[in-house]
């Protein structure tokens, strides 16, 4: 083999602390090396041309570039090598910048280390083999999981772009958290007035298939060819015939059912449509509170339904959707604030969450838009808002800032004054976080125009006394303890990944953090991608964010899918595992450990053998280290390639004594 070695100065980045000339000189005596040279900037146009020229002139059949990290320019140089007519995998990199020149100043030691790294790269390259990508066709349908505002935006953008869209929503209506809001900041415009038409667009769009009351059960396949099993949960109402007329709700005798849409501050009927603008506007039965299900007697809804849509025997239905990409937009839930014993841990009815308060403010909410405190239904005059309940609080394991609470608290303070002009609002805050267009102005308005009293400090205790809620806290600006006798306390509870997001992440094979938020591909450069090809993120599923950001991410994820689907075929990564059939004993341990289901059993001349499905294989190599015969080898990271590196290193002496 004829290997060329190119040692980069990277200006003084490398050459400052590594003797690159000496490294190139040392490389010349390494086995299989036919050519070695230092170069000023290997990645620059002349640098790359130098590599191409050397390969062509010297008839090299492989190149080692000793420069920066392969995570930076690996693909750059693979293209260079390809331009010189070689297979791009006949290339190795020695990282002598991030791993050598930048982390030590001892030039002698650095040079010795750089030579070792080059020696290892050369030894590995001598074991490399050309690898070839495969083309495979893709299914240009996209699934969007979660029908909140981010999912709606992504669905509409994809559908407008001509893609077939499958939208899967866990609850019986789309709209998500935004549908529960009364008004939105900083414009104080009606939430359902701006969201409602978008929801209708989803319902009417010819390219969108909506599965409400449905959840993703399992995900198989790979980018371009996913099979998603969706469980359509029984609603006990045939949605094909239900017209959403609401006759059943009028007659249902079980009127004290839990109302999750109203955050449990109101009640609803056992058969219900969550809110008037629901999409799809279809009724469903809450089994736990339905008299028919509890006692077997009733059946009034079935009697009154004009289209005979009620079906008490309905079962969950499994359907399989084939899609080429998936956008996870599962949103957030409020963290369980009951860990705050000092705020009563749920013992006091007049301590409520901001989302409950939002339902109270809403004209379509359970109180018809009148603020009434839960204990005695009286109108509160003094309202205390406590911010950062489950945000920026390490003591409850929530170190992060939810980010949008400052803004909605200001909005709620403003709305409170609108609803009850003689009311007083107090806001206990840590810092006001209001970056964004018109945001800081908005919080100022809450204070200056609407007279909300902002107190910088934490609340240590809330307790009832003589019909009031005593809120005891500290005003850190005044350096004094304060006590407010409140009628109602509203907690700005922090957000966490929606319930079940961890399980969904595992099905999608994407990472998630301990708060249930999905991990993006790169915090800056890949904000809506994940490390799993073909799976994208939008909205609060990735981390807490406000409506404009959620919408922007929905559009961004849609753009990613549209660009992915702009080609008819995708190229597979050839760094996949390969089975040596004669070595394989068919024990299938590789298949047991494969996280992707990329290995299947096949029969060759009556004996069981393993077979890699190349398009599913992600190239982790767990199978290779599982196989005792060495029968399944991850290409480009074969045992022999890694052993070559180990042997090259161990055969070189450390510094002379």
């Amino acid at each position: 083999m004829k290997i060329g070695v190119f040692v980069c100065h990277c200006g003084s980045n490398i050459a400052g602390t590594v003797d690159v000339v000496q490294v190139a000189e040392a490389a010349k005596s390494m086995p299989e090396v036919a050519f070695a040279k230092d170069t000023m900037y290997a990645c620059s146009e002349p640098g790359q041309q130098g590599i191409i020229d050397a390969i062509k002139e010297m008839g090299l059949d492989g190149a080692v570039v000793a420069s920066c990290t392969p995570r930076m320019h690996g693909s750059t140089f693979m293209r260079t090598v390809a331009r010189a007519g070689l297979n791009p995998y006949m290339f190795e990199m020695a990282n002598i910048r991030e791993h050598v020149s930048w982390i030590g100043k001892d030039k002698v030691a650095n040079t010795r280390k750089a030579i070792d790294l080059v020696r290892m790269a050369v030894a590995k390259l001598a074991q490399n083999k050309p690898l070839y990508s495969q083309s495979f066709s893709i299914n240009k349908r996209v699934m969007i999981i979660g029908g909140g505002v981010a999912g709606i935006q992504a669905a509409l953008d994809c559908a407008d772009g001509g893609l077939q869209v499958v939208l899967v929503e866990k609850t019986t209506t789309i709209g998500g958290k935004m549908a529960k809001l009364d008004k939105t900041f900083p414009t104080v415009d009606c939430s359902s007035c701006i969201l409602g038409p978008r929801m209708v667009d989803v319902a009417q769009h010819p390219n969108i298939t909506l599965h409400a009351s449905a959840e993703v059960d399992e995900v198989f396949g790979y980018v371009g060819n996913y099979q998603v099993e969706v469980r359509k949960k029984a609603t006990y109402v045939n949605w094909k015939t239900c017209t959403g007329c609401g006759a059943c709700m009028e007659k249902c005798p079980s009127k004290k059912s839990k109302d999750p849409f109203n955050e449990l501050i109101g009640t609803t009927t056992a058969i219900n449509i969550p809110f008037p603008q629901a999409i799809p506007k279809r009724a469903s039965i809450d089994r736990d509170s339905c008299i028919k299900f509890k006692t077997g007697k009733c059946g009034i809804c079935a009697k009154v339904c004009p289209t005979k849509a009620i079906d008490y025997d309905q079962q969950d239905e499994m359907i399989t959707e084939e899609v080429g990409a998936i956008i996870a937009a599962t949103g957030f839930d409020l963290m369980d604030w009951h860990v705050y014993g000092q705020y009563g841990a749920g013992r006091y009815p007049d301590v409520i969450t901001s989302l409950q308060y939002e339902r109270m403010l809403s004209a379509s909410g359970p109180t018809g838009g009148h603020i009434k405190r839960p204990s005695d239904k009286k109108e509160p005059k003094t309202i205390v808002f406590i911010q950062c309940v489950g945000s920026r609080d390490k003591s409850v394991g929530r170190p992060y800032c939810t980010g949008f609470c400052c803004m909605y608290t200001a909005k709620q303070a403003i709305l409170t004054k609108d609803h009850i002009p003689d009311s007083e609002s107090y806001v206990f805050y840590m810092d006001i976080r209001a970056p964004g267009k018109m945001y800081d102005e908005f919080t100022r308005r809450a204070m200056e125009e609407y007279g909300a009293k902002y107190i910088r400090g934490r609340v240590s205790m809330v307790y009832p006394q003589d019909g009031k809620m005593i809120v005891r806290g500290v005003d850190t600006l005044a350096g004094a303890q304060v006590e407010v006798e409140a009628d109602l306390v509203v907690l700005a509870v922090g957000a966490e990944g929606a319930a079940g997001s961890a399980q969904l992440a595992e099905k999608l094979r994407i990472s998630y953090d301990s708060y249930g938020f999905f991990m993006e591909g790169h915090p800056k450069l890949k904000p809506v991608e994940t490390n799993t090809a073909g799976v994208y993120l939008a909205g609060c599923a990735q981390g807490p964010k406000d409506i404009p950001s959620s919408v922007a991410q929905g559009s961004a994820a849609a753009a990613k899918v549209l660009s992915l689907f702009s080609k008819d075929q995708l190229q597979s990564d050839p760094q996949v595992s390969k089975v040596d059939l004669k070595r394989c004993v068919g024990c299938m341990k590789c298949a047991i450990t494969c996280p992707f289901g990329a290995i299947k059993e096949t029969e060759v001349r009556g004996e069981i053998k393993a077979q890699v499905i190349e398009t599913i294989c992600q190239g982790c190599g767990i199978c290779t280290s599982t196989c005792r015969q060495g029968a399944i080898q991850l290409q480009n990271f074969t045992d022999n390639q890694i052993l070559a590196e180990v042997n090259a290193l161990l055969s070189s002496e450390t510094e002379e004594a």
């Binding site: 070595r583 004993v585 024990c587 069981i608 060495g630 045992d639 022999n640 052993l643």
Partner: protein, 322 residues
């Protein structure tokens, strides 16, 4: 009916369903038994079972391809290998018929040899051997010598938890009820030496290794056979040089490849022509895996072996990190 006759009757009864039954027969002298491959009723008469039946016959199960139906006679320890092979889907339950036996322990011919040598007698000259009252009675150079089994029994038998076959289609004789605790005292005793002493120990042992691969070939779980990575070029884990490092690394391959699978039957050590205590390496792994995962290989055909499994939060492994 003696246990041996009961076993013979069972084999005769089931033989029509099977292509072959593997048992033990008389070996080249009175102290040695040899694997017996029974294909006809006439062969059954040659069957022997006594404490000299040391071989773990399950080693042969993987050598017949998947078409044949094979019967195999197993002691308690051997049966664990069958379970392990089943668990790893290297053999199939419907192709294997297990004739299980109770076993009170087998003789270690190395110990017999040394015991006789201590009396200035040569094991090669033994003309007759039998068992009476817990003694091995041999006739050698015209003398009758009684060797108490307790003195010549294989070490593994003294700490045996599984005297009876743990899996069987037929079971001859009465199950043995007692089971000895295994405290891994041998491993602990070895580890009382310094690290340098341990390395020196292996250096001395491995110098004798001739890389004959008898250890591997006797191992019922070494199923790679011709494709063992100890001998291959692709992948090329270890060269064919006859150096200490190569010999030792081959044993590292054997040991790590048995981690979580080894049933500690000791065939590697028994087969070694130069008496390298290879089982010690495997027992160390067995001990650590038992402590980490509460797992004993070859006891449950449906278990998921610990190294092919994980818990997101491990109970016994600290998150290492400084």
């Amino acid at each position: 009916m003696s246990l041996q006759d009961e076993l013979k009757a069972q084999i005769v009864k089931r033989l029509p369903e099977l292509d072959v039954v593997i048992g033990w027969g008389q070996g080249y002298d009175s102290l040695h038994r040899t694997p017996l491959f029974i294909t006809s009723e006439a062969d059954v008469d040659k069957l022997v079972f006594d404490p000299l039946c040391v071989h773990n016959l399950s080693t042969y199960l993987t050598r017949y391809g998947s078409a044949k139906r094979i019967g195999v006679v197993v002691k308690g320890c051997d049966s664990r290998s069958v379970v392990e092979l089943l668990q790893e889907k290297l053999i199939h339950r419907d192709k294997v018929m297990v004739f299980g036996l109770p076993c009170e322990g087998v003789a270690d011919l190395g110990k017999v040899k040394r015991a006789l040598a201590a009396k200035d007698l040569d094991m090669g000259r033994v003309r007759a051997a039998s068992f009476a009252d817990g003694d091995l009675v041999v006739t050698v150079s015209g003398q009758e010598i009684r060797l108490p089994m307790a003195e010549v029994q294989a070490d593994k038998c003294g700490r045996c938890r599984y005297h009876n076959a743990v899996i069987h289609d037929e079971f001859a004789g009465q199950p043995i009820t007692e089971a000895a605790p295994d405290t891994y005292a041998d491993v602990a005793a070895f580890e009382e030496q310094t690290l340098e002493e341990r390395m020196e120990f292996w250096r001395e042992q491995m110098e004798r290794c001739v890389r004959c691969y008898a250890c591997r070939n006797a191992c019922p779980l070494c199923v790679c056979r011709d494709y063992c990575i100890g001998q291959s070029r692709e992948p090329n884990w270890v060269s064919q040089r006859d150096g200490l490092e190569e010999k030792f690394f081959f044993q590292m391959i054997h040991a790590t490849h048995l981690a979580g699978r080894c049933t500690e039957c000791g065939e590697c050590e028994r087969a070694c022509p130069v008496d390298i205590p290879l089982l010690l390496l495997k027992r160390k792994l067995g001990k650590e895996i038992l402590e980490l995962f509460d797992y004993r290989a070859g006891t449950d055909p449906d278990a998921k072996p610990p190294l092919l499994n994980f818990k997101v939060q491990e109970d016994t492994i600290n998150e290492r990190g400084w």
